[in-house]
Symmetry: C2
Subunit: 495 residues, 2 copies
């Protein structure tokens, strides 16, 4: 006889297989599809979402969860059961009408934003955003009621289960106490040595070769994945077939290369999620923040380190051609340059947290109902002025209209970027303790011990442990921003 647990597993395996088709259709849409295909594709994807939502919110599942609780399950099965239940609860919490209304409002807002942003049209944009905020507050309220937490905390829980704004206030408060000063010092220090700008054009084909070569160095499994091109870089697909993308600029190979390194971090996590539980929730990535910790581990801890840059330098010169600005020292300075600016996605790792904390503070107040959409630009200006000394008055395009997250109603997502950066620094410190000679190994391109450590401590566990437990198991302690500080001081202030 089939147990209730087995029936639930089968349902989630089905969902995973349908998700596979959606993921591949999504990748195709971003990388390959001709423009005229978008309406039919959108309809097909929406049909799939509706169907998957139906499967996930099937009333029969409630009884199966009750029955499965009584069955004798091993450790992993118990965790899997609770992850399945979590997914089911999160889905059943929201009435289909709200899900649909939010999806439509999000599409409308994002679609109009594509024209409104270049036109700097805050009036037009804010009208659509209000509808998204209204529906997101409704969603947050339903989640909050179910979880017994505040509205914003209920949204945070979607992206980083267990995270609270109380903890974020403390952690980000810590960052805010030392980061502005560190940033200022780093900028002053870098001003002492001028950085030469490499001169392109750098052939796209050579940039692609460089990307593939760096992916190989970072252990990307080309039998289960590939590199493509898209307007916005991403990591998509499924663990058995991970698709990463980058975009090329003939005058700036470093940006494409660092994008590839970042996405390779996401990809290696996906490719190494536990194979024995494939298709089950326990085999999925732990959270958005842990995912980002893996990409930032590769990009910030490894990729922009002196040791790694030394290792790949000969290859860079071989493929991009030799020129004074590609001398090793200048190449390293280039990759570690600190330059506060308007745009989050272009930010260096010292300015990045300021962008994130600003968005966190605004989106939390927005969801909690402490401010309204009209209040955003003034708050944005004020906070940008305080943290990075940048004036964005009247410049909505490079201010509060620069990102896509709010258009879709993905409130609660932004903090995961900086959580990921802090997790990554803490993990790398643990690697250093476990492998004292790690810098020499990196310089020699012998990265297998580092990958083994990640495999052992992060990748193989999927969603087996809550984030904080995973972090404690791996590093001996819960999130501690001091490792991030150490990393930044070491890289940007030491002589």
């Amino acid at each position: 006889m089939t147990s209730a647990y087995q029936e639930l597993s089968r349902t989630f395996q089905r969902l995973s297989r349908f998700g596979h088709l959606g993921a591949i259709a999504g990748v195709d849409m971003q990388t390959t599809m001709p423009p005229g295909g978008s309406q039919a594709r959108g309809e097909a994807m929406a049909e799939l979402s509706v169907f998957m939502h139906e499967v996930l919110t099937d009333k029969r599942l409630g009884g199966l969860f009750d029955a499965a609780q009584q069955e004798s399950l091993n450790d992993v099965e118990q965790v899997n059961l609770s992850e399945m239940q979590r997914a089911w609860q999160q889905a059943t919490l929201l009435p289909a009408s709200l899900v649909e209304a939010k999806s439509l409002a999000g599409s409308r807002c994002e679609h109009a934003w594509r024209q409104q942003r270049p036109a700097n049209d805050w009036q037009g944009f804010s009208a659509n955003l209000k509808e998204v905020v209204k529906l997101s507050r409704e969603e947050a309220q339903l989640r909050a009621d179910a979880l017994g937490v505040s509205r914003y905390d209920a949204l945070l829980d979607v992206f980083e289960p267990g995270m609270t704004s109380a903890q974020l206030d403390q952690t980000f408060g810590d960052l805010k106490s030392w980061l502005p000063d560190l940033l200022q010092k780093a900028v002053a220090k870098q001003q002492q040595t001028p950085i030469a700008q490499p001169v392109g054009p750098f052939a796209i084909e050579s940039q692609k070769q460089l990307g593939l070569s760096v992916m190989k160095t970072l252990g990307f499994d080309f039998n289960h994945g590939r590199l493509d091109v898209s307007a916005h870089p991403f990591c998509g697909g499924v663990p058995e077939d991970v698709r990463i993308t980058t975009r090329y600029n003939e005058n700036d190979f470093l940006s494409a290369m660092m994008g590839v390194i970042h996405e390779t971090g996401h990809a290696r996590y996906e490719q190494n999620l536990p194979k024995q539980w494939r298709g089950q929730p326990v085999a999925q990535a732990r959270s958005t923040a842990i995912h980002e910790s893996q990409s930032l581990f590769m990009e910030m801890q490894l990729g922009r380190s002196e040791a790694f840059l030394q290792h790949i330098h000969p290859q860079v010169v071989a493929l991009m051609g030799d020129q004074p600005a590609l001398a090793l020292n200048n190449f390293i300075r280039q990759a570690q340059r600190v330059k506060p600016g308007f745009i989050r996605v272009d930010a260096d790792e010292l300015s990045y947290p300021a962008h994130v904390i600003l968005r966190y503070e605004i989106e939390r107040a927005l969801i909690e109902g402490e401010i309204e959409v009209e209040d955003i630009p003034a708050l944005w200006d004020e906070k940008m002025q305080q943290s990075l000394g940048i004036d964005t008055r009247g410049n909505y395009r490079d201010g509060c209209m620069q990102d896509i997250h709010w258009t879709d109603g993905a409130f609660g997502y932004f903090p995961t970027y900086t959580l990921g950066a802090m997790y990554a620094a803490q993990l790398f410190q643990a690697v250093k303790r476990a492998i004292p000679q790690v810098e020499t190994l990196i310089q020699q391109g012998e990265l297998q011990p580092v990958f083994d450590w990640l495999q052992q401590n992060i990748w193989q566990h999927g969603s087996r442990f809550p984030t904080q437990q995973l972090l404690i198991n791996a590093t001996g302690e819960a999130l501690n921003p001091r490792y991030f500080r150490q990393h930044l001081e070491q890289r940007y202030l030491s002589e």
Copy 2:
């Protein structure tokens, strides 16, 4: 209130959207997917098939069909209803266990064939094929019982509704009465003028440019489709996003180019299926044979005609480089060369029907139980000897193991190739009557009147009319092989 017809339409629209995702995942699998993704992809696609089969065989549909018959429907809705019902009946006819067993046996047979063919291993192959034949006979019997026709006729009906072996016997019998003689004469005639072989390499990128340019000439809509590369050329995707592929050989650009022309014929049919009924069965291509008529119209009637070859010749020389073997006369001879050989997919249009008729005669006898799998090689040799004078004894690899159709149990498919060729010739004759100056127009690359004719007479109708009615409406008469004969005599025997 929703009518029964509307509910049925909604169900078939859902099926079409799920089919969209399956089609794109299928294209990705052939063009893009890394090898390690194949197992998970196979599982996801199988899950989708099972689900779509469930939706299509839902018991509720029976009642809806009964109710919809009573509703007041316009002409198109009535046809759509009967096409829906046809799809439903064909699906419900077969028990899920048989569908699954056949799919598994087919996969096993095809998978092993990939190794067995190069190894010329008939013993190994025939053991698997027997299972496929056994299950195909069961399927044929169930279909035959439902339709009240013979087993093989019931399979034919899947690919060309309404076609019978009685009509095929007559039509193919006609072909057999004059084609061998025509072929012999054509070969003798061509031997009088030696054909020079163009010397490569021809850069893949230039071949791709040539393909794209020819697609443009043939009116391919790049906003709703694209050209990619795969091991076996195909036309896939959905009407809103049609993907065609070719494969490149550095020493033979003509084969890739003709492949592109052929698939563009399939693509234009798909791209121009009636937009107002999208997602409904009535908007789908009429049949496999009509589909092939559109590809062969482009390839054989247009693509290899002197007028068309004259038109594209300057472009060919510009992209492939000038050389004596690319002089216009030799280029035309090359494209119209007749050379009987072992392999169907490499055959010229004069030898092709012999390959198809041979397979038709064998597969019909096999399905009707008149012969067994063991009898195939001897029959193959005998018929190959008779029709093309080719000795395949002991050479299974280039004989009865060359194709993939039987491994999957697609019995009844082969005849559609030659039906398509005959339909295409008959359609082109009608075009000539409608547009007397058509050859001059083709030579000038002014193909719009030809496309308009196809749009008017074939594309826009989808499945609105039965094949023979479609043909009568377009050409004034039912299938008549004499137009195919005229076309071949004109091209290959006239001075």
